[in-house]
């Protein structure tokens, strides 16, 4: 019989800071998936003998934006440190990071789960530099000796020295869902602060959960395993789930969990041992002698604090309050600043329309059009004002909902306004009851058998008759008026003694 365990999970997140230049030199930060290898490299980031690092102030500013948004305590003076290990992607043989005296400590991040809101404590936020990228090439050739290229590894230092922010949470999470929610909330926050590209496929945000389990109710921690370098939310959740199940199974069998670093194999859906505790590095951290303590000007920190935008969680609360949205809608609309801005612009452009209706249009029709075309909201040809105009036409009865959806699709593909499309295609809704009365009369006349069965008590046939009228009106009749007129004429028949 399986025991009940409580998972205890903390997260380390490495986020690339979207500065123009690298952390310790003037090299540009480039898209390493696109740029010519080693094209954005100088003696400093190549770690040549004799060079020295100089701190990129913009990276410090970006780091402070994040630390302040996470409500951290900012260290008036923090220290850089050398983290020593040998690897060919690390040209100096050490990474400049922060160890004792990090930039910021003791923050918090509010996450949203199916159980509601929850606060996860942030242990520390610190600055460091990224490593280069290795590409392993297998042996190749056509069999003739001269043609064989032995297996080898290529080194691209374009990424070496790119500023990274490491954000470490306390082990406050207890499920894959919470871990996913934390990662999404952090992703959203970094995007709001405009300090990260958000492009997880390209490694802009890399997540390393550490997971242990303990018998439910226990206060001591179990042995933890760390999973390296996850870069999708889905992968993160699946890896955490797998790891919880793996550790639970071990304990159920009376075995122990080994402390180790594990890797996630996405296509197999499993984690595997990468490095055991015995093989763990002694990084021999010591204060970086090439960089004096990072002393922060208080006024500058205050200035950065004052310049922070409205953060996702505040905006979410405001949307619920001000626009009477559900928590779900508010979360969807505030996850990205662009979406929230778009929504608020549309609301402002249509004061006569209930904000909830606008939320439905954006979360429903507009998102589905964006998904189908793979476009982002920034690329969307329909402006908030144009969308608002369309929605107003629907809510005011000028066109019906079905036509509205057709018109939106047309707006999306042609970039034309709703008015123009309606006019050119003659889509305006028929609300004139005399015209509709004529159409109803015609349909009843043409379908005497159905009318007879209705009168005999099969009232369900009314829906079919309604469809016939709408069809005759090419979908443009106001359905409410059609319904009313149909009911009126059928009742008249009953009263007239049919």
């Amino acid at each position: 019989m399986s025991n009940i365990y409580e998972p205890v999970i903390g997260l380390e997140v490495h986020a690339e800071l979207a500065t123009r230049s690298k952390m310790f030199c003037a090299c540009p930060v480039v898209d390493t998936t696109q740029a010519e290898p080693n094209s954005a490299v100088c003696p400093v980031c190549a770690g040549m003998p004799g060079v020295l690092p100089v701190v990129n102030q913009k990276a410090v500013e970006f780091a402070l934006r994040v630390a302040l948004a996470l409500a951290c305590e900012i260290a008036p003076s923090s220290l850089f440190a050398r983290k020593n290990y040998f690897y060919p992607d690390l040209p100096k043989g050490y990474q400049i990071s922060q160890y004792e005296n990090p930039l910021a400590v003791n923050g918090r991040l509010t996450i949203l789960t199916s159980q509601g809101e929850k606060v996860v404590r942030i242990r520390r936020v610190h600055l460091e530099e990224d490593t280069g990228k290795l590409t392993h090439i297998a042996e190749s050739g056509n069999g003739s000796i001269n043609e064989i290229r032995p297996a080898h590894t290529l080194i691209d230092l374009n990424r070496a020295g790119v500023p990274l922010l490491e954000i470490v949470s306390e082990p406050d999470m207890h499920s894959a869902e919470e871990v996913g929610a934390y990662a999404r909330a952090l992703h959203s926050l970094l995007r709001y602060l405009k300090v990260n590209s958000g492009d997880m496929q390209k490694g802009a945000m890399r997540i390393e959960p550490n997971i242990s389990i303990r018998p439910a109710g226990s206060q001591t921690f179990g042995t933890r395993c760390e999973i390296k370098n996850l870069n999708t939310f889905r992968g993160l959740e699946r890896a955490v789930d797998f790891e919880i199940r793996r550790q639970s199974a071990l304990l159920d069998e009376g075995k122990v969990v080994e402390q180790e670093t594990r890797g996630w194999i996405d296509d197999q859906g499993i984690t595997v041992t990468q490095r055991s505790k015995e093989e763990a590095h002694d990084y021999r951290y010591f204060p970086e002698p090439d960089l004096p303590p990072l002393v922060l000007d208080r006024a500058w920190v205050e200035e950065i604090l004052a310049s922070l935008p409205e953060l996702p969680i505040s905006r979410l609360h405001r949307f619920q309050e001000q626009y009477k949205l559900s928590a779900y809608d508010a979360e969807v609309l505030t996850a990205e600043q662009e979406t929230a801005d778009y929504y608020e612009a549309a609301v402002a452009a249509a004061p006569q329309v209930a904000p909830k209706v606008i939320a439905n249009w954006i979360c429903g029709e507009l998102f589905s059009l964006l998904n189908q075309t793979g476009m982002t909201l920034a690329e969307c040809p329909v402006t908030p004002r144009a969308l608002a105009a369309l929605i107003f036409l629907v809510t005011s009865g000028e066109i019906n909902l079905g036509t509205g959806k057709v018109v939106l699709a047309e707006m999306f593909h042609s970039g034309q306004s709703a008015e123009a499309i309606i006019a050119s295609r003659g889509l305006r809704q028929i609300s004139d009851s005399s015209a509709i009365a004529g159409m109803v009369q015609q349909v009843l006349k043409n379908n005497p058998e159905q009318v007879q069965s209705y009168l005999a008590g099969k009232t369900g046939i009314a829906q079919w008759l309604f469809g016939q009228v709408m069809k005759a009106a090419k979908g443009q009749a106001n359905p409410q008026v059609v319904r009313q007129e149909l009911e009126k004429q059928l009742n008249a028949m009953i009263n007239n003694g049919y």
Binding site: P43, P49, G50, V54, F86, P88, R284, D290, P292
Partner: protein, 496 residues
């Protein structure tokens, strides 16, 4: 006969401006001197004769134009040849740091100190020999060859900047750059009978200096006389935005006028006149202090009570920093590489085969001192004691303007004497290490000779950014003495 190579730096500058000789003639004269003496001295690792002559021709045309118009100011050292220690990068010239692991590294950039001198018009003759990665006190640890002392070929020139010191002492260059992490400028200056400055830490940019102990490394200069050292110092000192540890402190204004030292308070530290130091060294230094007194200085005893801890503190901090600084030499980016089956094999073999014994010893010392479980007891503790040593100096400089002391316990020792005993070698630096740990400047100049005809040097240490006081005292001393004008007999012998 006063040949070009016999001139001081200032005389050389004067001769070039007046047109007594051309820069080409000067460069040629030094190259010939190098050719004559290098087989005995081995002061250089690399020479750059073609580049030097080409630069000399450019300098000559600028000098000629200047002489004709006389208007536009020209750089202060235009056309002056110099030697550079081979731990400082000069763009386009091989830089080995005295190591076989860096046999083929040609830096694409110049060290800031070198760049400032190039802007001042100097011409680089070549790169001088050094203990591997500046780790040593005799230049015997060079991965290339041993440099010999021009005063006695059986003796070491000191180290690690032994190549630069020997080159200046033997008139193979009028001045040279060096580096000083634990005494590597001051002790060779003393052993070779020339003048040298280790500036305040942070006064001269370290950019382009191949790092050994980053929190201790200082770039400095050698010349025959203090005034010339001061001139070079004034050109290389000053803030550099490429070195975050270089201080934003005004450019030095070195004013050497006069030899009146009235009002100068000179401290004599008890801890530097201890049993075991060579009697002639102590006698010469005490005589030199008397000379300072006759020039008006007041002398008093001071105490630097933590001096005895400087050696163990230094041999924890410097190797710890070195263990990280030298990690980049893994065979991946710099040739030569020792091939192996695996990545780790390349690391092990390249480093195992190409680092010398002393470098490996210090990497291991430093790695150990930083290891988990030992950090607090070793590196952490060393940093605390380092603060005490610094405080010693701060307290002393509340009482005195500068501190006078011997540079080393003895004059130049015989080649090979300490080759089996690293600890005895480390003890050579006991009087120079404290200034590095405290970050204070130190000036060395010759104050006599021992019975073997080997030069004795004296060291003046000043407060942070107190170089001007040191230069003033040293220059005053040299105006009333002539030790700095003595030359090794081998220079003259070379002509006969």
């Amino acid at each position: 006969m006063n040949t070009i190579t016999g001139l001081t730096l200032s005389q050389l500058v004067h001769g070039l401006r007046t047109g007594d000789f051309s820069s080409r003639e000067a460069v040629q004269a030094y190259l010939e001197q190098i050719e004559r003496l290098e087989p005995n001295l081995h002061a250089f690792i690399s020479l750059a004769p073609e580049q030097a002559l080409a630069q000399a021709d450019i300098a000559d045309s600028r000098l000629a134009a200047w002489r004709k118009s006389g208007e536009n100011p020209i750089p202060p050292l235009l056309g002056v040849p110099m030697a550079i220690k081979d731990v400082l990068c000069v763009a386009g010239l091989r830089c080995t740091a005295g190591s076989r692991i860096l046999e083929n590294f040609i830096p694409p950039f110049s060290a800031t100190a070198v760049e400032r001198l190039l802007e001042a018009g100097i011409i680089v003759l070549g790169k001088t020999n050094t203990d591997e990665f500046a780790m040593g006190s005799s230049t015997e640890n060079s991965g290339y060859w041993v440099t010999h002392n021009p005063w006695n070929l059986e003796r070491v020139p000191g180290g690690s900047s032994g190549g630069s010191a020997a080159a200046v002492a033997a008139d193979m260059a009028p001045a040279a750059l060096g580096s000083d992490t634990g005494g590597s400028i001051r002790q060779p200056a003393a052993f070779c009978g020339i003048s040298g400055i280790k500036p305040t830490y942070g006064r001269v940019s370290r950019y382009g200096l191949i790092a050994y102990g980053s929190s201790l490394d200082c770039v400095g200069a050698f010349a025959r006389q203090v005034s010339d050292v001061a001139l070079i110092y004034s050109l290389i000192a000053g803030h550099d935005e490429r070195d975050a540890t270089s201080m934003d402190y005004p450019k030095p204004q070195v004013n050497l006028n006069g030899k009146d030292l009235k009002g100068l308070r000179v401290g004599i530290p008890d801890e530097y006149f201890i049993a075991g130091i060579q009697a002639e060294v102590e006698a010469s230094v005490r005589e030199a202090i008397q000379v300072l007194q006759t020039l008006g200085a007041a002398v008093e005893r001071v105490s630097l009570p933590h001096t005895e801890y400087a050696l163990p503190v230094y041999y924890l901090i410097a190797p710890a920093e070195a263990s990280a600084n030298l990690a980049r030499f893994d065979g991946i980016r710099y040739e030569p590489r020792s091939e192996a089956e695996s990545m780790w094999g390349v690391f092990y073999r390249t480093r195992g085969e190409r680092f010398g014994a002393e470098v490996k010893r210090r990497i291991m010392l430093g790695t150990y001192a930083l290891s988990a479980g030992y950090y607090d007891a070793y590196y952490g503790q060393a940093q605390k004691v380092r603060t005490l040593i610094k405080t010693d100096f701060e307290q002393a400089f509340e009482k005195v303007d500068l501190i006078a002391a011997p540079v080393a316990p003895s004059t130049a020792f015989p080649i090979g004497r300490h080759s089996d005993d690293p600890l005895a070698m480390y003890l050579e630096d006991i009087f120079t290490l404290p200034a590095n740990l405290a970050g204070v400047p130190g000036l060395v100049f010759p104050v006599g000779f021992d019975a073997n005809g080997l030069p004795v040097g004296m060291q003046l240490m000043g407060p942070h950014f107190g170089e001007d006081i040191l230069f003033k005292a040293g220059h005053a001393y040299q105006q009333v003495t002539d030790w700095h004008q003595r030359k090794p007999p081998l220079i003259d012998k070379a002509f006969t």
